[in-house]
Amino acid sequence: MSTEEIRAALADIVNEVAGVDADDVQLEKSFVDDLDVDSLSMVEVVVEAEEKFGVTIPDDQVKNLKTVGDAVSYIERARAAA
């Protein structure tokens, strides 16, 4: 999957979980400050992302995923390492 494909699939998850317009889920956006995704919604996004992308995102890593770009990069690295 390309970076853009991962971003788009992640945007669909954020839309489903938190009701955020998928078009707003761009790489530079902060989950908390820009998209209003709180810590519990973030847990849901992470679990759905793990399933969708076949990766594991440990709880202690989630706090480092501040922007959509952070999450996409993490997923890309995890997929490359798998």
């Binding site: 489903e16 979980v17 810590s39 519990l40 847990v43 849901e44 679990v47 709880d59 989630v62």
Partner: protein, 159 residues
């Protein structure tokens, strides 16, 4: 009151506990240490919220499906979903993870009554009946979970 019946209306229970996660919801200070202190203070209840949310929403969705399987019904057969009233966010996440159809009515007693702890499922059930959201003959999925981490789920036909 529960008595003998020709028609089974109480499904098998799927239950258990996951002791490896004992520290996600716990009392921080041991009562023995508290009482031995010269100036005892009330102990604290502590919870690792995100981890509990993840377990309650997603592991419990799987447990719920096991209870449905054991009862021989699917989510489509359900009329009511009555989970432990811990918080509405867990209920929402669990319903999404279970892919609960929109026709299933969901207990939301937590909105008015808060988390009523070990009594939450029967209180929420009674509330649904009183409000007309549940009626005799409805197929309901009950599920409770909490510290331990302990859980139980079953399908019942409402009397």
């Amino acid at each position: 009151m529960i008595g003998p019946s020709e028609t089974p209306a109480i499904g098998p229970v799927v239950w258990g506990s996951d002791g490896e996660q004992y520290d996600l919801i716990r009392q921080r200070e041991d009562w023995r240490d508290v009482m031995a202190s010269d100036s005892p203070e009330m102990p604290h209840l502590v919870m690792q919220g995100n981890e509990v949310f993840r377990w309650a929403s997603f592991s419990m969705a799987k447990t719920a499906h096991q209870a449905l399987d054991r009862a021989g019904v699917s989510v489509e057969d359900l009329d009511c979903f009555i989970p432990h009233q811990a918080n509405n966010r867990i209920t929402d996440a669990m319903a999404r993870a279970m892919k609960l159809p929109s026709h299933v009515r969901i207990a939301r007693d937590v909105i008015d009554s808060g988390n009523t702890s070990a009594a939450s499922v029967p209180l929420a059930l009674e509330r649904m009946i009183r409000d007309g959201d549940a009626k005799s003959g409805d197929v309901a999925l009950l599920i409770a979970f909490g510290a331990g981490l302990a859980y139980a789920a079953q399908v019942v036909t409402l009397p």
